[in-house]
Amino acid sequence: MTSVGTTGSRQLLRAEGLSKRFGGVQALSDVSFAMHRGQIVGLIGPNGSGKSTCVNLLSGNLPVSAGEVWLDDELLTGEPIDAAVVKGLARTFQSTQIFAEHTALENVMLGCHTLFKQGPEKSVLRTASAKRENLELVTHAERSLALVGLAPRRDQIASTLSAAEQRLLMIAVALATKPKVILLDEPAAGMVASERRALAGIIRALPSHGVSVLVIEHHMGLIMEVCDRIVVLNFGQKIAEGTPAEIRNNQAVIDAYLGHRDHA
């Protein structure tokens, strides 16, 4: 897997002065933060605070208006999303995205796309080396399925999985790309309490597999439970950053978010 710990606590993912304008609306202004290897960082904020915009800028789904994104000392800004994946940044989406007609394993195999060293033409010609590589990656894909607890669903068509399982499958596809960092955009959306607990366990285990996590979530319980650090956005600006305990007691955060939780 990725080289956990070899470079000590150096910064892994770094956002510098990220800004995004949509016409006259400043969705995100001058947001900077960094995360270290092996960390689980939460990105929270009230509705419309710029969380999703921030994730889309990090992943390359949206072009930045200003600012830079660095992953392991490589500049990601301006790269299309598939290039960011190759460099080690994977993401999931707020709305469930899967390849509905494929089996769970086939979904995850598509996540292995960037790991194939043999050219696609070898797969067409069915060379022995291509077959061998395919088998190796099936094993890798099965591990990714197991990480999210979907191993028993291996050969089931994705559209027949439950809503929560489909969201986990989306995470498994992202994990199959062997990312250094995974961006989870509201992973618990639509999950009931028991499913959320299982999800928390899955997220917490990721750093031990060499994957650092940036998680965007509405559900405060989940965030407080899994995160090492939390970044808080409001009206497109970073208003606080710290450990869950610090954030819980931060007056600006309480005013902006937790205090109005019932109306959010």
Binding site: H102, E106, L110, G111, R126
Partner: protein, 320 residues
């Protein structure tokens, strides 16, 4: 196992077909049907597997037909060589046209390809010094005869050309099957199902879309070349957007995203209008009505409907 048996049976039936058919006209229709199956299979790659409807198959068929005809007539290429060069020539044309076109998504891509077809058609009509325009190119040579020692196969003969078209179709089916069953085919299906998610999985979708477009066009070009040397005469008419729409129709009728769908659909789009001649002036109305009925009641196409039907019957037998 059953699939292999079915493939062998169908090929065997296709081989003996001319021996039992005495009416030359039927052989003629069968040749046209096989040519159109090749073109439809191309449409299936981009439309059925990749999910991008291209309305330019007719144009690419035309480019292949004119390329092969002109290479053999003006450049002195052997016919066999020019027939093989035609799909390469078409692929280059598709690469140039597809590179900008595939930056566009959804319906806009379809509109762009429709425009492409119109441009190609206009060029074929107006570049008189090369294509001889509307009156067309006459006396296109047949492929050179093959001397087997004891006998000579002359491709001016309809039956010989039937086997040539059949061999070309089998070759195309074999190549398309290899592609769609490979990792490339899975990526194309992934793009059809969810392109943004495919990109998020690290797939550079535009490369695969461009490949699918070029591949589908080169199949149309190959079909066009076989058409040109069979008919011996071509003009721009059969390469208008009508032909592209027929290819799309063949894919939808037969079953898009299935290997056998374009065979059934391609055969129907050639044979149905002929079979309906008994209805005389109501022919086109009947044809249109049939198509509408198929789309309403068998939206996934004939092949998936039949396969599902057979499966449910065999299941019922197993569990009485």
């Amino acid at each position: 196992m059953w699939t292999r048996f079915a493939i062998v049976a169908v090929i065997a039936a296709a081989i003996v077909f001319p021996l039992f058919v005495t009416v030359n006209y039927f052989i003629h229709l069968a040749i046209l049907a096989m040519i159109f199956m090749i073109v439809a299979q191309g449409a299936n790659v981009i439309q059925g597997y990749t999910g991008y409807v291209s309305i330019a198959q007719g144009a690419f068929m035309g480019i292949g037909a004119y390329a092969s005809a002109l290479l053999s007539m003006r450049a002195g290429f052997p016919v066999w060589l020019s027939m093989l060069a035609a799909p390469i020539f078409t692929a280059v044309a598709a690469a140039i046209a597809g590179y900008p076109a595939l930056r566009i998504k959804g319906h806009y891509f379809a509109i762009m390809t429709l425009a492409m077809n119109m441009v190609v058609f206009t060029v074929l009509v107006n570049w008189v010094s090369l294509t001889q325009g509307e009156p067309g190119l006459p006396s296109i040579p047949s492929p050179e005869a093959i001397n087997l020692g004891f006998t000579e196969i002359a491709f001016e003969k309809r039956r010989a050309y039937y086997y040539l078209a059949l061999a070309a179709l089998v070759l195309v089916m074999w190549i398309v099957a290899a592609v769609v069953r490979s990792r490339v085919g899975r990526v194309l299906l992934a793009i059809r199902q969810n392109e943004p998610f495919a990109e998020a999985a690290g797939i550079a979708c535009w490369k695969y879309k461009l490949f699918a477009f070029i591949f589908s066009a080169s199949l149309a070009g190959f079909g066009g070349a076989i058409y040109a040397h069979y008919m011996g005469f071509i003009n721009p008419t059969p390469f208008s957007a009508d032909a592209s729409l027929n290819a799309i129709l063949a894919v939808i009728l037969g079953g898009s995203g299935t290997l056998t769908g374009p065979l059934v659909g391609g055969a129907l789009t050639v044979i149905l209008p002929e079979a309906l001649r008994v209805a005389e002036i109501y022919r086109l109305i009947a044809y249109g009505l049939l198509l509408i009925l198929v789309v309403i009641f068998l939206p996934r196409g004939l092949v998936p409907a039949v396969v599902d039907g057979v499966r449910s019957i065999s299941r019922r037998r197993k569990t009485p």
